[in-house]
């Protein structure tokens, strides 16, 4: 049994690749930020959603470059790539089911819990920042007079 554990050869890699990926990551981040600035104060709900979608795609692209090049996964054996990437597919249903049920929970409450619905229509006067905790305290006072579910133990 040979003891040639040593460092494996670096297929690809090298400083030029690192430089290239750094630039790509920076550019992607700058585009994300530009999109973020563009969204500020935007009224068009549909466009905002589209931009958010674009930002999430850019996020995934960044993740791809970090995992693929910085973490060197792209230069590993294909089987290793598969054993790491394939289980991550579990996230697809994980995300869809959780978010869908969250959304459904909101619809349920908006339909059957008038208090919940009402709360999301009352505008609160804007408070000056800096008064430590005061705003939160006031908010808590107004919200907990709920006629909602009564939890009665003992």
């Amino acid at each position: 049994m040979s003891h040639s554990v040593g460092h494996e050869e670096t297929h690809g890699g090298g400083t030029s690749e690192i430089k290239k990926v750094t630039i790509i990551l920076s550019v992607l981040t700058i585009i994300e930020l530009a999109l973020g600035f563009w969204m500020i104060g935007m009224e068009n709900k549909g466009l905002v959603l589209a931009i958010k979608g674009a930002i999430i795609i850019l996020m995934l692209a960044k993740a791809f470059y970090i995992v693929g090049y910085f973490m060197h996964l792209k230069h590993e054996i294909k089987n290793l790539i598969m054993t790491i990437v394939v289980p991550l597919a579990l996230f697809i249903w994980f995300i869809i089911a959780f978010l869908a049920d969250g959304n459904s929970f909101r619809n349920l409450r908006n339909t059957y819990d008038p208090y919940f619905k009402e709360q999301s229509t009352i505008k609160v006067e804007k408070k000056e920042h800096g008064s430590h905790g005061a705003a939160a305290g006031a908010h808590a006072d107004t919200t907990h007079k709920s006629e909602g579910a009564v939890e009665n133990k003992h």
Partner: protein
């Protein structure tokens, strides 16, 4: 370009680098501490897991006897109960608080400490290196830590039973708000904090173990041991480890959010809550359902973490003792894989009646019912393995067959429960109790017993007593059916689980006799488990000695080691593997060990 050259182009990283040749002769000094306490030998760690698991099984079983006493004899008083439980059994009757604490701790302990740590902790540790041909785990040190984190979790859980307000009593699933608010019940106070600490330690233990099992199976296989030559035990334990590594972190996140809700005034899981004597809580905007999603994202894979090791061991034991190759080896692997994937996709079938979106629920129904396919493949393959086999009814084999029986009986009711419409009637009734106790609880215990009876000779170099083994088997299987079969009828009649006293309910009074019967059988079955414990510890020291290397005539690698293997398992070179693990009854030979090279005139299987 030759094949060799292709391989070498990748640079050779060999496996057994950590423990190379210096293990051939095993002479380095061992003290009592390094051999029996802080041991890094996978076989000793396996025994530590097993015996700790047994201690918990006795405690958890005793708890079930105590609350069955309440359920079977709701009006009777037993003064001796007050002697042992003090204020928890005032006047000789278990108090409601104590009843809920017992039910909760019974569930937590049996699911996590016995059937996760005790089962896969024991057999993954024991069998993986022995059956893939490795000197030890990839990282023996992390393996040792894995056990000691489990031990710490055990100590914390045990201590929580002795605090003034009692252990956690809101059910093993720890749903908020009972688990999130100290004011909700006595058991929600310090007992719940300790429960969380204990479970967090347990998650760490299971991650350390799981990473090790995966790395060992992938990287440490001996020469010739390709993935499709591995015994099914290893495949099952491998998938178990994958399930644990990917799902326990989600539970961990859920627990962290719960800790914040308990201690730092957040409201991740809390909304619209009013407590008697405290008033309305300021916590708004959270969702208790979110916790259930996070919990069951672990909780459902956890069911398979419990079941898969039993399936793997049963496949191996059935094949060895039928003297036949396992039927459909690749189909077995495929169905294990399918179960492992589906395990992650079906969690919300535990939540059909929580207000889960019905459309989403219907997708979960579909995915849930899909599990029937790989499960059925496995069942038919086990049955066809037995078919026309030359069966040896050793105690291990009896338990393996018992496992198949229980898995069928309990699995069929799973098809009922998987339907969201039926679940409206059946959820949270004794039907559910019966279903999961048979299919997951008792079946996995049977897998565990089968494993213990089968590999005891390898563990201790002695046999367990057969007569006691047969008594153990017959009483346990008869008892399991007598306890849980009637519960189906109670559940169909709508009898809810977790109630303290059914005799005050007009609709459930009719079951008083039946409940007493169930309780009586439960006590008898518990007593027989004590017989098994006696057999186990007696046989370690006084059992009949193993005199041949391979007492069962099995093909797998663990039987090529010395009768009592030292740390490093094999004296000299690790044997090379030339064939799959199931060459039984081939070419007129009773069995051909994996280490035997393929002969020139050998037939193909």
């Amino acid at each position: 370009m030759s094949n060799e050259a292709v391989v070498h182009a990748h640079g050779a990283v060999t496996t057994h680098e950590g423990h190379g040749d210096h293990h051939h002769e095993h002479h380095h000094h061992e003290t009592f501490i390094t051999k029996y306490v802080f041991s890094q030998d996978h076989k000793m760690i396996a025994k530590q897991f097993l015996i700790t698991g047994m201690v918990w099984a006795v405690l958890g079983g005793l708890m079930s006897v105590l609350f069955r006493l309440q359920l079977g004899y709701p009006d009777a008083t037993f003064p001796w109960l007050e002697d042992i439980l003090g204020k928890w059994a005032k006047g000789g009757r278990i108090t409601p608080e104590a009843y809920y604490a017992l039910v909760t701790t019974h569930g937590t302990v049996l699911v996590f400490f016995v059937l996760t740590a005790g089962l896969s902790g024991t057999f993954a540790n024991f069998l993986i290196p022995l059956q893939v041909g490795a000197r030890d785990m990839a990282s023996p040190f992390m393996n040792m830590l894995s056990y000691w984190f489990f031990f710490a979790a055990s100590i914390v859980m045990l201590s929580s039973m002795f605090v003034e307000t009692g252990p956690f009593s809101g059910g093993w699933t720890a749903y908020p708000p009972l688990s999130a608010l100290g004011d909700a019940s006595p058991g929600s106070k310090i007992g719940m904090d300790m429960w969380l600490i204990s479970m967090a330690l347990f998650v760490v233990s299971s991650l350390l173990g799981g990473l090790n099992y995966i790395a060992t199976v992938l990287n440490m296989r001996t020469k010739g041991m390709s993935m499709t030559r591995m015994p099914l035990t290893i495949w099952a334990l491998f998938f178990t480890a994958v399930l644990g590594v990917l799902s326990f972190p989600v539970l961990f996140s859920g627990f962290i959010l719960l800790i914040f809700d308990r201690n730092f005034g957040t409201s991740f899981y809390l909304s619209d809550i009013f407590i008697n004597g405290v008033g309305a809580l300021p916590n708004e905007g959270g969702s208790a359902i979110l916790y259930q999603h996070l919990f069951w994202f672990l909780g459902h894979p956890e069911v398979y973490i419990i079941l898969l090791p039993a399936m793997g061991m049963v496949s191996e034991i059935l094949s060895v003792n039928s003297r036949k190759p396992i039927f459909g080896y690749m189909a077995m692997i495929g169905s294990l894989f399918a179960i492992a994937i589906l395990a992650f996709l079906v969690w919300a079938h535990h939540m059909f009646v929580t207000g889960l979106n019905p459309f989403l629920g219907s997708i979960f129904v579909l995915l849930t019912l899909l599990i029937a396919v790989p499960s059925a493949i496995k069942v038919f393959n086990w049955l066809t393995t037995l078919w026309r086999g030359n069966i040896r009814f050793t105690p291990g084999m009896m338990f393996a067959i018992g496992f198949v029986s229980l898995f069928i009986s309990g699995g069929l009711t799973g098809i009922w429960l998987g339907n969201s419409a039926l679940d409206i009637h059946l959820h949270d009734t004794y039907f559910v109790i019966a279903h999961f106790h048979i299919v997951m609880g008792v079946a996995s215990m049977f897998g565990m017993f089968a494993g213990i009876y089968h590999w005891f000779p390898k563990m201790y170099g002695r046999y367990l007593n057969n007569t006691m083994g047969y008594i153990h088997f017959w009483v346990t299987i008869a008892g399991a059916y007598l306890i849980f079969w009637p519960m189906h009828y109670e559940g169909l009649a709508g009898m809810p689980r977790r109630y303290y006293d059914y005799s005050i309910w007009e609709s459930f009074k009719q079951f008083a006799e039946l409940n007493r019967f169930i309780s009586t059988v439960a006590m008898i079955v518990f007593a027989v488990q004590l017989l098994f414990l006696f057999n186990f510890f007696y046989s370690i020291f006084k059992g009949r000695k193993v005199t041949t290397l391979n007492p069962w005539g099995a093909t797998t690698l663990e039987w090529t080691t010395p009768i009592k293997p030292g740390h490093g398992n094999w004296v000299g070179e690790i044997p090379e593997v030339h064939r799959w693990a199931y060459d039984y009854g081939k070419d007129g030979k009773e069995f051909i060990a994996q280490t035997t090279p393929v002969g020139a005139d050998e037939s193909h299987h």
